[in-house]
């Protein structure tokens, strides 16, 4: 499916940010709004784009290019009348779209969860026009286009509506019928895309579809900051452990934001490798007896370990291989740190009790990871056993505390006890769940 992105406007309310650059090139967490629009649509399966440019359009051509960088095809259409309504922008793209049965329409200044595009692409009912809407009116940041609904049909649309039930999210699935509708709207003096949609809506041709995830219209610098906050907050995962939620994520999301702003779409596997190197250094420090420093490095690595996934998600660089490799390196790091600590203590005290404890900690640590991934595999659902669990963030935090306090034996004992008892608990929980719905 093709998508057309309307990126002709200036966005003067963004002030200084759009003095030298068009709105589409304003950056949010290291990516321009246009890049976000393209990459979000790509996750929904769109690979062929038409971008309508106007204000400082040559800069967009220069920076975004022909799409090779995004494994997409991008063509440009110029709209010299960019100071007028955006219905004219869409009309300029007519030649590229009139032979398509359906295409996506996007605004370059709307940020949204990629699931929204998937929802549009997968929508199968036949309507001349499908508009994504949000019934949560509190999301209106002041400039939203309002939508009046009757059941699932749009019956009116416009910024000035007094009575309305939803907001226009700036994402649409259209047929070429929209072009004639805009022309009709032009005759009555309305050159906006909303004007065209209104014409279709009067004929019962506009289906409203509810958006599921986050979306935001970026008009002001405040909107930009809020979008950044929302994106960063969305990075917490349901399977995050208690230390991750209360400490690690707060720091790692800030680091990820810095990384994205400084280097853009970094390869997340590099971050995984960096975090792994810190963990291995920590193991070596443990082994040569520098317990406190080793502990601090261990926790540092645990925090940075959150960044690879975050940068991958925010930079649209998630990959199955990356996720797989990251878990693998985490497991090697877990093992090395426990063995390093044991060896360090052995060299110091030559007390053989360290070895059974080392073994039990390794086994418990291993079984926590294994029961988790095996559970997801066998039962086909996320392995969340309880809010407090011996997840990696918790284990490494305990390792740091124990190492700083200079108590390796007690730390290993504690790790062995909590990991193995959590494994037993997981077995019981799984057994119970399975008994209840086999």
């Amino acid at each position: 499916m093709k998508a057309v992105i309307l990126a002709a406007g200036r966005g003067s309310r963004l002030g200084e940010l759009t003095k030298e650059r068009p709105k589409g090139l304003v950056k949010l967490l290291g990516l321009t709004l246009l890049e976000r629009a393209i990459l979000s649509a790509k996750e929904g399966g769109v690979e062929d784009f038409v971008i309508v440019i106007g204000y400082k359009g040559e800069k967009i051509r220069e920076e975004i290019g022909d799409g090779k960088r995004y494994s997409a095809r991008i063509r440009y259409v110029e709209n010299e009348e960019w100071e007028k309504g955006n219905g004219l922008s869409l009309l300029k793209a007519r030649d590229h779209l009139s032979s398509e049965s359906r295409f996506i329409i996007m605004m370059c200044d709307h940020v949204f969860d990629p699931s929204a595009i998937k929802k549009l692409v997968n929508f199968k009912e036949e309507y001349p026009f499908v508009l994504l809407v949000d019934r949560d009116l509190s999301r209106d940041t002041g400039e939203a286009t309002r939508v009046k609904l009757s059941n699932n049909l749009v019956i009116d649309i416009g910024k000035g509506l007094k009575e309305y039930q939803a907001l226009d999210c700036g994402l649409m699935l259209s047929t070429p019928e929209i072009f004639r509708a805009i022309e009709e709207s032009l005759k009555v003096g309305d050159d906006s895309l909303s004007g065209g949609i209104r014409v279709l809506s009067k004929k019962g041709g506009v289906r409203a579809l509810e958006i599921d995830g986050f979306w935001m219209d970026i008009d002001t610098p405040e909107n930009l900051s809020e979008a950044e906050r929302t994106l960063l907050n969305s990075l917490t995962k349901p399977e995050d452990g208690i230390i991750s939620r209360s400490i690690n994520r707060r720091i790692s999301t800030r680091i990820s934001a810095l990384i994205l702003k400084k280097w853009g779409r970094v390869n997340p596997n590099l971050i995984s490798a960096f975090s792994f190197l810190i963990a291995i250094s920590s193991s070596i420090l443990f082994a040569i007896g520098s317990l406190a420093l080793g502990g601090i490095l261990a926790q540092t690595s645990s925090i940075i370990d959150g960044c690879d996934g975050e940068v991958a998600r925010l930079g649209f660089r998630r990959s199955k291989f990356g996720a797989w490799l990251d878990s693998l390196l985490d497991r090697i790091a877990d093992f090395s740190m426990i063995f390093g600590l044991s060896w360090g203590y052995w060299e110091l005290a030559h007390d053989q009790v360290v070895w059974p404890l080392c073994f039990l900690s390794l086994m418990g640590t291993f079984l926590i990871s294994y029961t988790g991934s095996k559970y997801e595999l066998d039962f086909g659902e996320l392995a969340v056993f309880s809010r407090v669990d011996a997840t990696r963030d918790v284990r490494i935090f305990l390792l740091m505390i124990g190492a700083i306090l200079g108590r390796p034996i007690e730390t290993l004992l504690l790790l062995a006890v909590i990991t193995n008892s959590m494994v037993i608990r997981r077995i019981l929980i799984t057994w119970k769940r399975w008994r209840e719905s086999p």
Copy 2:
């Protein structure tokens, strides 16, 4: 969906086996043919059965009961004319089926892979009658009913056909139209079910559907032995390692057959637990220095570890929890055996080089299991990396050899080297696969 099972006949060609008992109660690997039919259909989602009984029917009622034991509902219909054609048997069940839009027809003497029932249940095209057929004519054991096809339609059916393209597998999806067809066939003197099917086929109403898995018509003691062999051979899994294929499965399937014949549908988790106990005993023997005996027990446990899955599959007692628990116990056993061997050597030689080797073997062993299950989870396909891999069967076999030879250090070193190098190989294979089709 309901199913009717025709179980009225005697099956006199089974000789002594059906002298005192009807054909449906003949046992195959510990389960009667009727139990197999019921449990196979249950895996395909059928929970409501009508069984037509005749020859020694009261024994069937007694042994199979009302179905509670199989979490199914079973009702019985008697056919006193069981020595005549099986079309009459089906007619007796008419009152129970005439209000159903579609139902399954099964023969109690046909053994088949449960996928066949799923295929019928999921078939959505509207035909008065759907017949599962096999185009592989070599599967005819002598008494098969022959089917003449024109494209996907059955145009004739009967044992005496000269020209035919497929065999009747004894599994059908029917509508109540079959009853009138049998009546019509009776008028021309044919009281078989095939007669009824022929009547429908002449009107273009019988769709042929190809069977995918194994099926067999059990008429003679030789058929019974062959079915047993085929079922046992089907237990080898694509992810089985080289020692498993060449040694363990050959022994474990024989043990499983014995278990099923002696105790019937044993709870497979008991076998998992038993194999686990042997592995733990082996670890203890290692730790107290009885290396050779420990090695033999380790390999014994590895062989018996195949039986839980086999008994589960052959006894229709597979469960997600069972599979999950089995892997978990295997991992604990793996860990214990390696630590046991290390500790045994440590007590003997007090040579600290054993601990890094123990650590590396544990890590490699762990990573083999983890990369496997995580690969299946992340990539959604079976983790088969290559024919020769450091799978569990191979690792434990090496452990046994090394222990019998009294070479714990070399064994640990070998385990550490092969497991970790296989992990590196798996990373490279995964990376390559992902690069080729991300």
